[in-house]
């Protein structure tokens, strides 16, 4: 449920990029921030460690525009991927209206992807959210590397058949805008009061 300020006529949705460590969540967000027109975006906030791993979250606000007199905004977040930051992830995930799951396509990261999705499912369940039917997009990132997971692997193992899936190379921007476009569309389509 987005935050709605009826007095000032503002609606703010929250989209969260989730996935295992080093799968490319921040790279996705940075690319989007770079290509958007300046008048649509706020400054990006990056809270990372000395090794450039996300410590708490990355964040920037995107203004969609005015609709029916309301200013509509998407607040875009990433969560830290490393397993030991589970507490941070849950905090950022709370109140999310849509999720992009950024999977690492490398074959040897299969377990990491499954483990990360398991944590996502548990957190959503704790918040009273059933992930089936929730705005969720799956991105297979790093498709430029050798020895890749075949598309369909994660959906099959996670029981997610039918969810929107995109192949991406976030470092080059490939598939990044298609992914966020679908996630945003889902958020709006499933928006109800």
């Amino acid at each position: 449920m987005p935050h709605i300020n009826y007095q000032d006529k503002e609606i703010a949705f929250k989209i969260v990029y989730y996935g295992p460590g080093m799968s490319g969540k921040t790279t996705n967000l940075m690319y989007i921030h770079n290509v958007l027109d300046n008048d649509r975006k706020g400054d990006i906030v990056v809270l990372d460690t000395e090794e450039e791993r996300t410590l708490f979250f990355d964040f920037f606000p995107l203004e969609l525009g005015r609709i029916e007199g309301y200013t509509v905004r998407f607040n875009m977040y990433t969560v830290p991927g490393q397993v030991f930051y589970e507490a941070s992830r849950r905090l950022i995930l709370e109140g999310a209206d849509g999720i992009v799951f950024v999977a690492d396509s490398e074959k040897d990261r299969l377990q990491d992807n499954l483990e990360s999705f398991g944590m996502l499912r548990n957190s959503l369940s704790d918040f009273g959210v059933e992930y089936k039917g929730f705005p969720l997009v799956l991105q297979y990132n790093k498709r430029d590397l050798p020895d890749l997971l075949p598309i369909g692997t994660l959906e099959g193992q996670l029981g997610l058949n039918g969810i929107p899936t995109f192949e991406a190379v976030a470092t080059e921007g490939r598939g990044v805008m298609e992914t966020i476009r679908m996630a945003s569309r889902q958020v709006i389509q499933k928006f109800q009061l």
Binding site: H3, M177, R181, I188, Q192
Partner: protein, 158 residues
Amino acid sequence: MNSENKDGNGDVKQLLSALIEKSGALTAMLITKEGISITEAGDTSYLNTTAMAALVAAMFSATREVARMVGEKHFSILLQQGENRHIHISLVHDSKMMVIVFEDYQRIGMVRLEARRTGEALNRALARHETPKNAGEIATPEFKEYALNLIDRIFETK
């Protein structure tokens, strides 16, 4: 001035403005636990309030987890002391936070007092306005169609 007689966020803003006046603080903000700024008062020209709201909400959430670890439900007040500017954050209406930025640390007593009084008034004001009257204006098919068009335009593949 009875600032609680008006509807909606108007009275919330008035309450924060009154707090600024009485405490001598620089800025006051009311934010949601999801990190959205609801209302601001005082000087915000030096501040990225959108990022500030996101960061403070995250900080408060982290502190809540720390509180749980030591057997507390939450810490209701956070105080950050700097060299020139200080921040007082207090929990309001269970799910919102009032952020006060002030400069003269000797006024901390006044800031605390006004934060407590304003917090109580905000609790009453927010409780009255939980069900909006004009909710039907949004989430309509027309609203969604226009939003989807905007999304397609903004996120077109470049």
